[in-house]
Every structure is written in structure tokens, then in C-alpha cells.
């Protein structure tokens, strides 16, 4: 995943009464059998950086459980996937059971609950992309990476060299770029089948794939500003 922008710490007003006491109270409110499942911090060997990230996330919300998705993102960034070990570490910081975080991780498509290739390629195969060749593009990425095409169109597949994870994905919200792909969480499109191999070659050499087809390069479809409506005159409010 790309680097996440971190809000400067001094700008985050502490949210309400979130303290170590809250964590304790939360555990005490659980059934004893559930509380038993919460790992103690000293029982897990969590990297300092990961612990700090999760704690910073917890401080952003009025209730600390809201940090479960951000915590899983942090785990996935650190380990490349939501590993059982990483989930246990996050659970210890948050004061929840690993099973709870596992249940959350398994709900969401973007969390990998098993190891996956280093670079993530999600190819949209939904209606608009399908009508413009999304299936062929997915095949092209599979061919170029060596990932299994059948698996890729269902649950996703990694390439044998572990470099790439390719998955046919539901609508990515970029039908204007159809057919398109999300490569390491950045959008590119519209893509030709030939772009697949070029993108993967660029990734192998550490370069940005297909810079000309990156989403931020795209101007509004309607072209330059039309003559402003008279009603907009003098109401220049961006």
C-alpha cells in the first residue's frame, strides 16, 4: 500500500475519555471466557512502529473499537497481509480478541487473510468495464504475471514468483476510465491489453507503472469551463 498521510499529532484533539482505563473497563465488561482471549501486550512481540500507529488510530475516535479497520490496514501495511500474528498483536493493543479482528478482516474484500503477491493489481470486471473489455484486460494481467486466470477471476491469485497479486474486482468507481485497474492502490485507465505487461515490467524495475494513464492526469470529461451561467455571475464560490 502507498504511504498513508499522517495528520500532524498536535492537530488531533484528543477524543473524549479514551484511556488505558477504558481498555480495562472494556475487557472487564466482557464475559470471562471472552476476556480470557484478549492477549496481554507483554504476551505479543509487537513492533513499536506498528503499536504506535494503532494507538494513534485509537486516539482519533470517540470509541476505540472504531479503530479496528484502520488497525487492520496498519497490520496489512506492516506484514503485507493480515497475518494471524499481526492480528493478535493488534488485538492486544486494542483490547479485543483476535477472533473479533479476524471476523472483521474476513468481511472486507481488501484485507488479505492469506499471504499474497507484493504488488496488488485489481482489475474491474463490472458492467461498464466489462462492456469495454475488462475481462480481456484481466486475462492480460494474468498472462503477463503468470497468475492463474481462473483463480484470479474468483478469489484472486498470486504470481508464482510472489511479485504480483491479480484479482478481478467488483466496480472500483472508475467507469469513466473503463477498462481500468487499481495497481498498488492507484487507479489507471483506460488500459489496452498491452498495457498489462508494460505495467508489470515497470513495477519489476521499481518504476511507476503507466504514468500517463494515472487517474490524477485526467481532466473533467466536459472539457474546458463552459461559459458561466448568468446565475453564477458574482457567486464565485469555487
Amino acid at each position: 500500500m502507498s504511504s498513508e498521510f499522517r495528520q500532524p499529532a498536535h492537530l488531533i484533539a484528543p477524543t473524549d475519555d479514551l484511556t488505558a482505563g477504558e481498555r480495562r473497563r472494556l475487557i472487564e465488561s466482557m464475559r470471562p471466557s471472552d476476556a480470557e482471549g484478549v492477549p496481554e501486550l507483554h504476551e505479543v512481540d509487537i513492533p513499536d512502529e506498528l503499536r504506535e500507529q494503532i494507538e494513534e488510530m485509537m486516539s482519533r475516535y470517540p470509541q476505540l473499537r472504531s479503530a479496528s479497520i484502520p488497525a487492520l490496514w496498519a497490520v496489512q501495511r506492516h506484514y503485507g497481509w493480515c497475518s494471524p500474528e499481526g492480528i493478535r498483536q493488534a488485538a492486544a493493543v486494542m483490547g479485543v480478541t483476535p477472533a473479533y479482528l479476524q471476523s472483521v478482516a474476513s468481511f472486507y474484500d481488501l484485507f488479505a487473510t492469506e499471504p499474497v503477491g507484493r504488488h496488488r493489481v485489481l482489475v474491474c470486471t463490472n458492467i461498464s468495464c466489462w462492456m469495454r473489455g475488462g475481462d480481456g484486460l484481466l486475462e492480460a494481467f494474468c498472462e503477463a504475471s503468470g497468475a492463474d486466470a481462473h483463480e484470479a477471476s474468483h478469489h484472486g491469485a498470486s504470481s508464482p514468483d510472489g511479485e504480483f497479486f491479480v484479482k478481478g474486482f467488483e466496480c472500483l468507481g472508475a467507469c469513466d476510465l473503463a477498462p481500468m485497474a487499481s495497481i498498488d492502490a492507484r487507479y489507471y485507465g483506460p488500459l489496452d491489453d498491452d498495457d498489462a505487461a508494460a505495467a508489470l515490467d515497470a513495477l519489476r524495475s521499481g518504476a511507476e507503472p503507466l504514468p500517463d494513464k494515472a487517474l490524477p492526469k485526467r481532466a473533467a470529461a466536459g472539457g474546458p469551463e463552459p461559459t458561466p451561467d448568468p446565475r453564477l455571475e458574482g457567486t464565485d464560490v469555487a
Binding site: Q63, I127, A238
Partner: protein
Amino acid sequence: MPETRVLFRHIDDPQLATIEGYRRHDGYKALERAFRELDPSDLLAAFEDSGLRGRGGAGFSMGKKGSFLPRGEMRKYVCCNADESEPGAFKDRELMMKNPHQLIEGVAIASLAVGASHAFIFIRGEYWEVADILDRAVAEAYEANYLGPNVVNSGAKVELVVHRGAGAYICGEETALLDALEGKRGNPRLKPPFPAIEGLYGGPTLINNVETLSNLPHIVNNGANWFKSFGTEQSPGTKVVSVSGCVERPGNYEVELGIPSRELIFDLAGGPAEDRRVKAWFPGGSSSPVLTEAELDLPYTFEDLAEAGSMLGSGSIIVADDTVSVPELALRTARFYHHESCGKCTPCREGTNWTVKMLERITRGEATPMDLEIIASVQENIIGHCLCVLGDSMAMPVGAMVAKFRDEFEAAIEAARRPGAGDFDLSPIDRPLTTGVSAP
């Protein structure tokens, strides 16, 4: 009719995403005025008076929704729904990526109007690079005191957190969004109580779409009557419409509501390729019942599309031209909802699953015309029987496709049943179909 850009004004100014660029176009003037001079109840009254209807799908009056929240001191919340995941919709992405401060200003104004001190923007995890831009803009707004414990020294507090989802269409459903924001699996809740009474962390919560909230600074600056001078009586304002599929220039176009749909599809988006015709079109995302070529002249408004048996939804047009097989289109649509069903309610979980299986049977030559009756009855038994409308969102378009293109389904069933026909080609549709399932 050309575009009418209000939300999209200066959209391609590369500086617009920065706070200086936004302020150069008078950004944050509405916020300063609202926090320093205006009474929250007057704000809500102005929003209601403007007639602004929710731009996320349901089209409910924004001001009315805000007025459902109880008054007085208590923990209330504002959630911006930026989980745009409906196939065909991509307007919020461009609005947030190119003009994040317009949204932040709108969120802060909405928070003031309903008396909320905490606000969240729930953005889908796939929009990672957009969320990075939002995070940067939020930090700028904090620095400029447009967010924080004492917004523009007015004494009001607004904390704003950008919360990234992790890939689940269901989180666009408002109560599932709340569960996801509370750190749970995103399952919808039973309503009532509605979020306005009991929402996030059990507190009263206002949930609005990105585009809805982005409209608020403009209403504060120019007034409700100005807003009503755009669009129609029941659908005032402008709308950013995402047009995609078989058109020459797919993209977002901001138009006055009431524009003929044909102008949107043909004049602005360029229409289908030469020699091709529009066969079917979704007027409001993949969950809206499809319309036909004969219905292209419908005015693009909430009321006209509802009267035609469909809906404006999120304002996302998907065009299928005459090379597209409707049974395959139905299958693609159904597969999406089958994948995204959270599994909580039986009619949706089983209904989406069986609809996919039955549509696949058509393609395998195992279906009979009677199966069309069963498909139609399954759709009827989903609608209105679940906690949320995800199942309905499949049942409505699939039901409409079977009803309006029955001949094509029957031809597909027959063609696939002919000895030696084999499976018809489910993959790229730019090749002519060999089984003749696509009606001319």
C-alpha cells in the same frame, strides 16, 4: 444544453485541492459566515427551503433529514457517505479528488446545523489516493482553524476524521456504514430506530452523500431561492451525472436537473459508437430498473424517472448498445449483488445466489422459458423483505430486464438449447456473438 457547473466550477484548476487555491475562489466564506453569524436552525430551514434532495440514491430532502435530529446538548454525529460503490457511479471520486475543501466546508456547515461536534468521512478503501488528498486537506483545514475545538473562534467544535473502509459495497447502506465505522463487520441494522435518532455510538446521526454536502456552501452563500432557480420544482439544483458504458466520452457532467436524458447521453457523453444504437440504459446506477431507447427523452429528474418506473438514484447512467446481450448484462448485474450481499437476510442472500445460478443456466442451455417466470418471482420475493435494499437493488434491474427484453431472453434460451450450440460466449462482447442471442 451545455453543462451548468456549480460544484464542478474551476474543477480543473490544479490549485483547487489546496486551501489557498480554494480560498482564491472564495472558499470557506460560507463557513465563516455560518459559524459567526447564522443560527443553526436558520441554516436547517434554508436547506429545507432550498429543496436539496440527497444525491446518494434515495433523494430524500436533506434539510428535513437534518431536522429529524433532536435539538439540544448531546453527542451527535455527522457522517459523510463517501463509500461510492454502486456500479456506474464515480462522481464523488472526482468531487473529492479535485475539490476536497468544498466537501470539508459542507461537512462543517452540516455539523453546525445539527449541533454535532464529531464528523466522519467514510470513504471506500479502494479510493486510497483520494483519501490521501482528503487527509491532506483536513490537516490544512485544521491548521486554518476551519476544523477543531473552536472553529473560526466561534466557540463551536467540529472534529473531522477521514475513515477508510476496506472494500464492501454494503457499507454504502447507512446503517451498515455506521457498523463499519464502529469497527464491526458492515451489516445493516433494523430500522427504526433511524440514524437520526439512534445512529453512530447510539447518538443522533446525520448521514449525507458527498455531493449533497458539497452543495451546502453554495446554498449558504447564495440562498435557497438561488438554488431553486436551477432544475425543476421537485428536483432543484444541479447534479453531477456519471455517464459510462457504450458512449464515446464517458465521464462526469454537471447539469441542471430536468435536462433531457438524450442530451446527457448523446450531446455531452457522445452517445454510442457510429452505427450503434442504445439498447438499454440504467438511469441511476446498476440498481435502477433499465430503460429502453424509447425512453431516452425522459427529463432527467427524480420525479420523471420514478414515474417511468425507474429512479435517478445516485445519478449514474450506464449505456448498453445493441452489441450487448441483455441476459449477459443481467448476469453481470446479479453477480455483483450476489458477491456484495452481506448474508444477513435470507431473501437477499439466497435470492441473489439463485438468480445468478438461474441466469447461468440460460447460458448453459439448461433453462426453459418457464425459468423466466421463476426468475421474475424470485425478484418479487426479495423486494421489501430485507433489512436493507441491497437485494432490491438486484431484483429491480433484473426484473426490469426480464420484463422489457423477454424476447431476447427467450431467444437466448432457445439458441443455447439448440444441439451443438455450446456455451455462448460470456467474455468480451466486442466480438459478435455467434449464437445469435443478441437481438438486432
